[in-house]
């Protein structure tokens, strides 16, 4: 994969997903950017190994997840500022947008605080990956992934209530 235009296109489509996953593992916005950059370098290098282009999204999600897991293992426990880069949606009125942004920040924080085994499952679920792909990406059984997802969603509901 040497074509920069192709990489640009892939980044354009999947950059938001990479950033969302990274922000679930790392609080500091600058480090989230660094993580995203690491992910894209890794994706660029690993992309020629991808045989099935239809699996691109789960491939990138898996790479992001692995890089984030490695990052968390390496990093010291840091008490930093919570994520502050969740800007309000411009399409919404100011009050509604700020309420929405606050809700999103709470969701990210709640996901971040989940235990690792639940966090990994729920992040991929929130990225709209089917349970089969989630199980494959994590190396666990489908029923196992379903149970974890159920537990993770219960934990999220407990700390956030129902966002709808």
């Amino acid at each position: 994969m040497s074509n920069i235009a192709e990489l640009e296109q892939i980044i354009e489509v999947h950059a938001a997903m990479v950033r969302r996953i990274a922000s679930a593992y790392e609080r500091h916005p600058d480090r989230v950017d660094d993580l995203a950059q690491d992910v894209w370098i890794a994706v660029w290098q690993a992309l020629p190994r991808l045989n099935d282009q239809t699996m691109l999204k789960s491939y990138i999600a898996r790479i992001t997840q692995n890089i984030c897991v490695t990052h968390v293992r390496r990093a010291l426990v840091r008490q930093t500022q919570p994520l502050t880069d969740t800007l309000p949606d411009r399409a919404l009125p100011i009050d509604e947008a700020s309420a929405h942004a606050a809700q999103l920040t709470r969701l990210i924080e709640a996901v971040r605080n989940l235990p690792d085994n639940l966090k990994a499952v729920v992040i991929l679920y929130l990225e709209e990956m089917p349970i089969k792909e989630i199980a494959q990406a994590l190396g666990i059984g489908e029923s196992n992934a379903s149970v974890r997802l159920h537990r993770a969603k219960s934990a999220l509901r407990l700390s956030l209530g129902d966002p709808s």
């Binding site: 995203a36 890794a42 290098q45 692995n66 490695t70 085994n117 990994a120 709209e128 990406a137 196992n144």
Partner: protein, 197 residues
């Protein structure tokens, strides 16, 4: 659960996270990759330059090592490049592994490091003590040589040897401590992930 007709409110909310600015990201990635490759090439060029210099020095007779040094240097470069390539491939493979296998590979790597660290802090002093013992035993049977002439040199050598030994032991202890902690933490995570629910 996977393809529910009604969108999950959590998913809907999660998907509304603001899109990052990707305008320069691709070019930054390319630039970083190029810088990394340039650094690798520069290091390789320096190492090759030293190899050429060694060959030249030995060919002109200014270095009386009879070609041994240049051969050893070149072999070290070749081995280093091969190992680097292998490590790159392994890293790339590890990226696309599933989480369980990724953790397993990380545990294996940490255990390997732990073994090396134990070799450093336990193996090296044992080896040094054994070597000293063997030398003493061998030299006890032979006639005393002119070592007294070089007693100062011997003292310096012994001092340097002991200093190197201490550095190795301390490094080994620090490494072993961090690696054993890493192995323990990773094993706990793996146990948690593999736990039968």
């Amino acid at each position: 659960m996977t393809s529910s007709p009604q969108p999950d409110p959590f998913v809907a909310l999660w998907q509304t996270a603001p899109k990052p600015d990707t305008h320069h990201l691709a070019h930054d990635v390319r630039r970083l990759n190029q810088l990394h490759q340039r650094l690798n090439r520069s290091i390789l060029a320096i190492l090759c330059g030293i190899a050429v210099l060694l060959v030249f020095e030995e060919a002109t007779g200014r270095l009386a090592s009879h070609g041994i040094l240049s051969v050893a240097w070149t072999l070290a470069i070749v081995t280093g490049v091969a190992r680097h390539r292998r490590a790159q491939c392994n890293r790339s493979d590890a990226l696309t592994l599933d989480t369980v296998n990724l953790l397993k590979s990380m545990i294996a790597r940490a255990q390997k490091d732990l073994f090396l660290a134990r070799c450093l802090y336990a193996g090296v002093p044992c080896g040094a003590a054994l070597g000293t013992l063997v030398i003493k035993l061998v030299s006890a049977g032979s006639a005393p040589s002119a070592t007294t002439l070089h007693s100062r040199l011997q003292l310096i050598q012994t001092g340097a040897g002991i200093a190197a030994l201490i550095i190795m032991i301390v490094t080994g202890l620090i490494l072993a401590r961090s690696r054993s902690r890493q192995v323990q933490e990773l094993s706990e995570k793996l146990k948690l992930i593999e736990a039968d629910l």
